[in-house]
Subunit: 244 residues, 2 copies
C-alpha cells in the first residue's frame, strides 16, 4: 500500500491518479482538525464541516451550534471559535455543531470522492494509524496549509503518520512523503522548539492564542479515529468517530 | 532582506506580494538549470529559453541550435537534449542555442516581472549567492519541481542557497525556506545517498541517464552567475553570465 503526501491544497490537483480508491487524511494541526477531534472526543453528538460561513448559517434553524474562524478569528455571532480549548465537555456533550475554518474545511471539501476520508491530529495520531492500517487502502496525507501555502506543522504531522505507516508496512511513494518524514525525524524530540519560528506559530503568538499550541501538539489523548462521511449531502460532510 | 521559497510552480501564485521588487532564483537541478549553467560556461554565445517546442522551432531560421526535452526525452529533430554532458565546448562555443524543457523553462516563463531572475544549480552555487548578495534585494527560491509536484533535489538546492544567504545576513521568511534548510542540513554530507530514493532519481535510473546525476550534483565548477534577461521579448528570455 502506497503513501503519498500533498503539501498544500494548491498541489492537490497534481496528485497522480487523484484520490479514487484511496484513503485521505486531512491535516490542519493549528487548529481545525485538532479542534474537530477534541470536540467529538468530548461528547459532541454530531459535527458537520462546511467550507463557507453562509453554509454554516443554514444549519442554525436546525438547532446546530455554530463554530469557526476566518483569518484565525472567531466568526462574529458564532458560538465557538477554532480553539480546541473552547470545546469543554459541558458545552459540547450531546450537542450538534457545524464548523467552518479558513483552511481545514476547504481541504475536507476537496477530499470528497476518496474511498475514506479521515480527520486527524496529534490528539488521535495512533488511533488514526490503526484505522488506516485496518482499512488497508493506499493513503494520501493532505496538509491544509495556510491559504495554499506550505506550512511546517501540518508537514511534520504528515511525517509522523508516514513513519508509523511505513513501520506498518506501507510504502513511501513520493518525495513529499520523504521530505515530511525527514523533517519529522529532525523535529520529534522537541516539537515545540522546532516549531518556534514557524510562520503560523508566530501568527499565534501575535494573536494571543499561544496556549493552543501546546494543546495542539499533545499526542494520543483521544483514542478514536474520526471519519468524514459525505453521504448524499450537497454541502459539507458529517464527522464521526470510526466504528461508533 | 528576506528569503522565501516556492516549492512548486503550483504554489507560485500564492507567494505573498508576488515577485515585484524581488530577485528570483529558478531551480531545476535535474536537469534544465544545470544544463543552462554548463552550456554558458562552455562558451555558448547566447542561450534563449522558451516554454514551448513551437517557440523553439521559430529560432531555427535565425541560426540557433535547438535544445530541449519533453518527459525527459530529447525532442525529435533537436540538436541537443537536456543532458549537461551533451554540451561539450567544441559543440557549443560561439553557438546560439534555444532551449525548452518540461519544467525549468516554464518556471522561467512565470518569473517574468521579477526585478532580477537568476538561473542556478550546484554548478554555480557560490557564484549565484555572491550575485544575490551584491544585488541585495529580497529573494525567492523557485523550485521547478516535476509537473507541479514537489521534488527533493530542487528543494535541497534551495536549502543550500538559504543556508549561504542566511550566513550573508538575509532573513528566512517562510516555512518553505525553513523546511528546505532543514532538509539540506540532513542531506549535504551525502547528497547522492540522500537522493537515492527520490522520485526523479529513480526515473533517471529507468531512463539510463544515471551518470547525469553525478554531474548535476557537482558543486561550484562554474564561477559565473547566470541572469535571465526578458528584455522586450514577447517569448522567452535570454540567458547570460552576469557582468559579462
Amino acid at each position: 500500500m502506497k503513501i503519498e503526501t500533498v503539501l498544500s491544497p494548491a498541489l492537490f490537483p497534481f496528485l497522480p491518479g487523484g484520490t479514487e480508491g484511496k484513503q485521505v487524511v486531512v491535516i490542519d494541526i493549528l487548529r481545525a482538525t485538532t479542534t474537530m477531534c477534541v470536540a467529538l472526543d468530548r461528547g459532541c453528538e454530531e459535527m458537520v464541516a462546511v467550507a463557507k460561513v453562509e453554509e454554516a448559517l443554514e444549519y442554525r434553524p436546525e438547532g446546530y451550534l455554530l463554530a469557526g474562524e476566518r483569518e484565525g478569528h472567531k466568526v462574529e455571532g458564532f458560538d465557538f471559535g477554532n480553539s480546541p480549548q473552547e470545546y469543554d465537555a459541558e458545552k459540547v456533550a450531546g450537542k450538534k455543531i457545524v464548523i467552518t475554518t479558513t483552511n481545514g474545511t476547504q481541504a475536507l471539501s476537496m477530499s470528497r470522492g476518496a474511498e475514506k476520508v479521515w480527520v486527524s491530529s496529534f490528539y488521535n495520531l495512533r488511533a488514526t494509524v490503526d484505522a488506516i492500517l485496518a482499512i488497508g487502502l493506499p493513503v494520501v496525507m493532505f496538509c491544509s496549509g495556510w491559504k495554499n501555502r506550505f506550512n511546517l506543522e501540518d508537514t511534520l504531522f504528515a511525517g509522523a503518520l508516514v513513519e508509523m505507516l511505513a513501520q506498518g508496512g506501507f510504502e513511501i511513494e513520493d518525495d513529499a512523503s520523504r521530505a515530511a518524514l525527514y523533517l519529522w525525524h529532525e523535529a520529534k524530540s522537541d516539537l515545540t522548539g522546532f516549531l518556534e519560528n514557524a510562520n503560523h506559530v508566530q501568527r499565534f503568538k501575535s494573536m494571543h492564542t499561544e496556549s493552543d499550541l501546546e494543546v495542539c501538539l499533545r499526542m494520543d489523548i483521544g483514542n478514536r479515529a474520526i471519519l468524514a462521511d459525505y453521504g448524499d449531502e450537497q454541502v459539507g460532510c458529517v464527522l464521526k468517530a470510526w466504528g461508533a
